[in-house]
Structure formats: C-alpha cells, structure tokens
C-alpha cells in the first residue's frame, strides 16, 4: 500500500500538460512493480477513457481498486492529487507570477511535457501494429483528433462497438 501511495505521489508531481502525458509513466511504474500485465493495463486505460473524469485520475483510482479494493482506490486517488493540491495551496500564486513574467518557465515546462507525451506514445504505439484492424483504428483516431474538431469520444465508442460486434460474431 505504501508503494502504491509513493508511486502515484511521484506520478502526480510530474503531471503537467493534461492527463494523457502521464499515462505512460503510470504504465511504466505499474508494470515494473509487476502489479498488472500489459493486457490488464490496456483494458484499464480503455475503461478510464470512457468514464467521466480526467484519464490519469481514473487510471489511478482503477489501479488502486484492482490491487487493494476501495482503500487502494482512495489512496491512489489522493496520492495523485496530493502534490498538485499542496502546491495550489502554497505556492500557486508564486508560480503563476513566475509563469507570467518570463515565458521561460512555461516554455521549459512545454519542453518537458513533450518528453512525457513521447513516453506515452512510445508505450502505446506497438499496440497499433498488432493487427490490421488496430492499425486502421489508430490511423482514424489520429486523423480525427489531429485534423478535425470532432470529439474523440465518438471514435472511442465507435471502435468499442466494432470490437464488441466482432467478438460477439466471431467469438
């Protein structure tokens, strides 16, 4: 349980730039500790993205729940938000002034955040090559969210329904 708390505390401290950036880090932490298999983690991400709430937070809650039930869910959730909320209470105003004065801090954070999202892309890209259907799905998902204003949720649901139909028909 302590390991769970520490792992998510660390993840929370680096969670800049929206939830998806840190899903790669969560994955590395969870897999290296041997808590879940890559397949388990993939299903968990699938659930986290179709449930209301920030993806990273949902993933944390779910990993905690899977490992230690309700108490684990509460601990993982609190751990992920502990650093941000403490910072918000204490130095939030200061950091905002820093961020506003020079654009240097903001730019430096952008540099780091692109590194984090690169890690997430690196972790999940292999999944797109596992089958033709997955490759096509990934390309469609990429095109829709990079070049249109369509809510990606529709792609997620559409792909999910295709997946369900395929399993129902072919088993």
């Amino acid at each position: 349980m302590l390991n769970l708390f520490l792992a998510f505390l660390k993840v929370g401290a680096a969670s800049y730039g929206g939830g998806w950036t840190i899903v790669g880090i969560i994955r590395t932490e969870i897999l290296s500790l041997g808590w879940l298999t890559p397949d388990d983690f993939a299903r968990l991400v699938a659930v986290a993205q179709v449930t209301p709430g920030p993806v990273a937070l949902n993933a944390a809650t779910m990993v905690g729940f899977r490992l230690f039930g309700l108490a684990g869910a509460a601990i993982a959730t609190l751990a992920v938000v502990a650093v941000p909320v403490t910072l918000a209470l204490t130095v939030g105003a200061l950091m905002s002034r820093m961020a506003k004065r020079g654009r240097q801090v903001t730019e430096a954070l952008k540099t780091g955040t692109i590194g984090l999202i690169a890690m997430t892309v690196w972790a999940f890209a292999p999944a797109a090559t596992s089958s033709w259907l997955n490759a096509v799905t990934a390309i469609v998902a990429f095109s829709v969210s990079a070049f249109t204003r369509i809510n990606p949720l529709w792609v997620i649901l559409g792909s999910g329904i295709i997946g369900a139909a395929r399993r129902a028909i072919f088993g």
């Binding site: 449930t51 869910a73 938000v81 780091g112 590194g115 990934a138 369900a164």
Partner: protein, 184 residues
C-alpha cells in the same frame, strides 16, 4: 469582493455545482474548463478576466487541469470552505463511477462482447496519444535550440523508464536555463 465569505455561496452549493459538472463531462480538463467558466460567469461568481488569471495559475502547477481550476475557483469564491467543496465535488463523481464500472467488470469482464468493446476502445489510444503529441509539437513556436533540447529531452525521458519523473524535472531545469540565457 469586499466581503468575501459573508454572502458567498455555501459549502453545499459549491459542492453541488462542481459535482454536477464533473458528473456529466467526459473528456478531461480541456473539455471541462470552458464548462466551468461559462457556469461560473452565469452565476456572477467571478468576472471573466479574473477567471483567466486563475486558469493560468492552474496551468502552472502539475495535476489535472479541471481539478486545479476548480479548487482555485472554489477558494476564490468562498475561501477554504470553497476549496474543500470544489475538491470533493470534482473528485467524487469519477471516483464513484470508476468503482461502479470496475465492480461491474469483475462480473461481466470476461464476457466476449465486453472484452471486445474494451479492446476496441483501447485500439484508439495509440492514435489519440500520437495526435496529442502532434498538436503539442504543431502549436509550439520553434527555434533550433528549443528543438534540439526538446528532442534530446524526449529521448532521455523515454530511455529513463522508471526514472522518468526525476529526468523530466532535470530536462525542465536545463530547458529553463537555456531559455533564460538565450531569449528566443
């Protein structure tokens, strides 16, 4: 804002407000923040320009953007009481729905159509995350130096694996030092 807490909305009002937004909005910070903004303005709790200041602050600290924005808005309208109300209001709906979904999956998770749905929903993740990276790269103002540091930083973070968090902060620090010495 002479008298901040006297005529400020109560705990339950603020809690209910954020609970409602959090419960019906799927898609994280960038979807949720505009919803919060419109609703807050409609109630006349915070003027628009002040909201943008709070939003800028929320972006400068780590953590889910929607949560950060909510707790700042909560604190601005009703002090500590508002902070706690916003925190719980934003967190409880996803927490409860995850518990519900995870419990349901323990029962029906092995059922083929459910597995198929989850596999399908996961298949979009490589595309979505790649698009996110693509947009971040496209929207940035690039200089040669920035590009070099960003690429080097990304490689180091990917290679670092378990040490990605400390390496991330090291990369940010180095990038910041370069940005200071060579204003681009």
């Amino acid at each position: 804002m002479s008298d901040k807490t006297a005529d400020a909305p109560g705990f339950l009002t603020i809690f209910g407000f954020f609970f409602g937004i959090s419960a019906v909005t799927i898609g994280g910070g960038y979807v949720m923040v505009p919803v919060i903004q419109r609703a807050v303005e409609k109630r006349g709790w915070i003027p628009e320009n002040e909201f943008y200041d709070l939003f800028a602050t929320a972006q400068s600290i780590p953590g889910p953007l929607a949560l950060n924005t909510a707790v700042f808005v909560g604190r601005r309208i009703a002090g500590t009481r508002g902070f706690i109300a916003a925190f719980l209001g934003i967190l409880l709906p996803p927490f409860a729905s995850i518990i519900a979904v995870a419990s349901a999956l323990e029962v029906v998770g092995a059922w083929p159509p459910v597995r198929g749905f989850l596999d399908g929903a996961f298949a979009v993740v490589p595309g979505l995350t790649a698009a996110l990276a693509f947009n971040m790269i496209r929207k940035r103002t690039w200089t040669p130096l920035r590009a070099v540091i960003t690429v080097a930083g990304a490689v180091l973070i990917v290679v670092a694996a378990k040490w990605a968090v400390p390496v991330f902060f090291a990369v940010v620090l180095v990038a910041w030092l370069f940005e200071r010495t060579k204003p681009c």
